[in-house]
Symmetry: C2
Subunit: 154 residues, 2 copies
DNA sequence: TATTGTTATACTCTATAACTATA
DNA sequence: TATAGTTATAGAGTATAACAATA
């Protein structure tokens, strides 16, 4: 008998392991494109258009000084550029450079590919159920904290 | 009408957001006990008993030198202790101190509490389905990579 | 005064390369 | 020779506190 003897993961343990797995995949994908996970996350966050520093600190849950450093390094690598805000001379908006746009798209798509592969073994039905269960958890969290868009990746 | 108009998350996006949420919760719980996430993870990994450095590098996916530093700092804080391996004089085993055991348990339980709360809104049935869907994904990953126990948290 | 962002400083975390000691 | 672990070094990521400029 070589049956897989599932140890029947506890629910929370299953969640934690899944999160670590996704995190690993994210790190691997970032590394493939010579990005740190934080840089990859920043790029993914900027795909839809320039974002201000303050909004980024909320999305990334970083102190503003930490974000300054992250943006500094990304800018030095030519991935993003600071553009002045036309309505508030104190503020600036962070935009992707063509290079950053390219890498951001690669990272995002690479992530999607990997996760699709990982979930490929799941029957369609179970997959949908997983999707809606997750949506339920995210909704619960949103309701509790009031953050309409937690970190998210785009 | 204030209906929640779910944007119908894509499957992979749902996974990524869930992972970030769990990661945030983990960071918050660690911080509550004045631990870095890495220290908390280390403590959780040692709850079942002492573990050797080499095994820890695999569990945490770190280079050995990175682990040396992590253990150094945890040891300096009195959370863990290096004990000599009785069968191999090159090797050592990392064990929790009473303080580390206490904090590890608090972090682990705090994590479980938070995630339970988060999933409290899910109907029993959906929760079970989520658990088994995750088990399926983890099994797929295990089958692909051959790692019997990815990172995991205990 | 409050907000936006940067600078200065100090840690933690991580990796690569070279090293020591034991197997 | 190979393995277990440490040391040296460098860079990324993060936070706190103090600051400058604008609102």
């Amino acid at each position: 008998m070589v049956t897989t003897k599932e140890p029947v993961l506890g629910f929370t343990e299953a969640l934690v392991r899944l999160a670590h797995l996704v995190q690993q995949v994210f790190e691997d994908v970032a590394k493939e494109h010579d990005l740190t996970p934080q840089q990859a996350q920043l790029l993914c966050l900027l795909i839809d258009g320039p974002v201000g520093m303050t909004e980024l600190t909320r999305a990334l849950r970083l102190e503003k000084s930490s974000l300054t450093g992250l943006v500094d390094r990304a800018e030095k690598r030519g991935l993003v550029a600071r553009t002045r805000d036309s309505h508030d001379r104190r503020a600036c908006r962070i935009a992707l450079t063509p290079d950053g746009e390219r890498l951001g798209a690669l990272a995002h798509d690479g992530m999607a590919d990997r996760l699709e592969t990982l979930a490929a073994g799941l029957p369609r039905e179970q997959r949908d159920l997983l999707g809606s269960a997750i949506a339920g958890i995210l909704a619960e969290h949103t309701a509790t904290t009031g953050h309409p868009r937690p970190p998210a990746d785009r």
